[in-house]
């Protein structure tokens, strides 16, 4: 019965979201508008994170490596 309790828990979370953001009080078309806006913003946020976060993380990683004394591969090959 894990699925059932999981579903109940998710429904309860959805109810909390509705109560906190006052969408419990909205008429159906307002709810549609509100959720469309929210889901669009969320999807855009996730997409931006998917595109930019790996690039930024690897740049930060290289910066910290450089800071702690490790030579970069390119400089070694130029000397050679």
């Amino acid at each position: 019965m894990d699925i059932k309790s999981m579903k109940n828990y998710l429904y309860w979370l959805y109810c909390q979201f509705e109560l906190i953001t006052c969408s419990y009080l909205m008429e159906p078309w307002e709810k549609l508008l509100f959720y469309t806006f929210n889901i669009t913003m969320l999807v855009m946020l996730l997409y931006t994170a998917y595109i930019f976060v790996p690039v930024h993380v690897s740049m930060a990683f290289q910066f910290f490596l450089h800071l702690f004394g490790n030579q970069h591969e390119n400089t070694v090959s130029v000397v050679k």
């Binding site: 309860w12 109810c15 909390q16 509705e18 109560l19 906190i20 953001t21 006052c22 969408s23 419990y24 009080l25 909205m26 008429e27 307002e30 509100f34």
Partner: protein, 542 residues
Amino acid sequence: RQNILSPHGCKFLEAPHNRVTNSTKQDKNGISNGTLYKKTFIEHFEQAPMYVAVLTFLGFGVGTVFGYLRDFMRAWGLEKRNVATEREQQKDFVPLYQDFENFYTRNLYMRIRDNWNRPICSVPGPQFDLMERVTDDYNWTFRFTGRTIKNVINMGSYNYLGFAETDVNALKTVTIELQKYGTGICSTRQEMGTLDKHIELEKLVANFLGVEDAMVFGMGFATNSMNIPALVGKGCLILSDELNHTSLVLGARLSGATIRIFKHNNMQSLEKLLRDAIIYGQPRSRRAWRKIIILVEGIYSMEGSIVRLPEIVSLKKKYKAYLYLDEAHSIGAVGATGRGVVEYFGMSPDDVDVLMGTFTKSFGAAGGYIAGRKDLVDFLRTHSHSAVYATSMCPPVAEQIIRAMKCLMGLDGTTQGLQRVRQLGKNTRYFRRRLHEMGFIIYGNDDSPVVPLLLYMPGKIGAFARRMLEKNIGVVVVGFPATPITESRARFCVSAAHTREMLNTVLNALDELGDFLQLKYSRYSKSSHPELYEETRLELED
């Protein structure tokens, strides 16, 4: 020249049994002088965690955005207009419907309007019947289905002693008087409207309260708003509590006196105002004030707090001011024999200059009274607007008050009155203790039968009231403008007529609903077995 530090004022030592159990009480209501109180005075005004405030503002923000959207759609004709709008010919005039309260009413109140103005169709006893109503267009119009919802537990009526009853034996004298006098008076007190019933009732009220004389009026609100202008006028100073009822505010404004407001139940604020009034006098002429009157209530119905009467009386005696005490919710409901806050604190009624109260709450009738010294009441008989222009109380209602008061005083030969007062005290303490243990934030004094339970978020107001009705419990929820905008609450009124089973039903429903709606914000919930652990003591003297 007065002394800056009086012997009273610098005593901040609290007796060990008068422990403050909640640290935020001092921030809100100032420090109390514990040595003036004969029993412990514990009040709770806990603040919710920060995330609750943030989420409340978020909810209001979303509501406001959608409010603007709907207003825009209504203005441009995309949606049918159900609200009041200006006429076409007056479009260029100063707009009538743009201020915040109208915005709030149109866009937020309308969405949850079905929780208020619910018509009931039985006596508002511990249980009542509701007419079922549904709405087809999101609360703009209602229609009745014709069915009634039976035996809904009543947690909203001010029926503190349970005198709102239809028992034939109890109402015997009322029916006799109804058949003898009819219902209408058709006159004012000063013309031909003073009946022997009024004289009997006034003597009884004076006897009950332990004062010289009393006068009764037909309407409780009008008692305040029509009598304060008779007592004070221009050149007088009114010091009124922040959270006073509208009737007191209206009476104060109508009188034309200068009004200054002190923080709720905060004696330091009141003392500062009194000192400034005496030192500086009237604003431009610097003359002494003709009268300084302090307006307070016995129990504040939105907060559930009890006035700090001993301290106010000592301040009033020191600075020679007058005290007007509005005991609308406290007469009959607190005190060992139901005689109000004066008895609750063990003080004498001679300390209070004007004792005012209403019969609507604890006596199951309608009307109000003003009691005090004989010369005060004689003055009001001639000079009050209510005596000159308002119809007097109708005889069956007066008889209901007489029988309720006789029952309370024990003059009908039974101990029923005292039993009711004791039952109310027991119910109040039980209800509050259980709610504290469950973890809700409850405001107010431990002995007040008015119990506000904080909801905070606007979405939860509607959800709470509707779900409680589904469980067959009727509650009153309050939001802006009766309360500050972020502190919406559900207000329970405990009654002596509630049995332990009814209270347990309500408490179980609240427990369930509290878990579902996440209303248990309290960080100080006490365990149900306090003797198993030692509480920390705040000892201020070694």
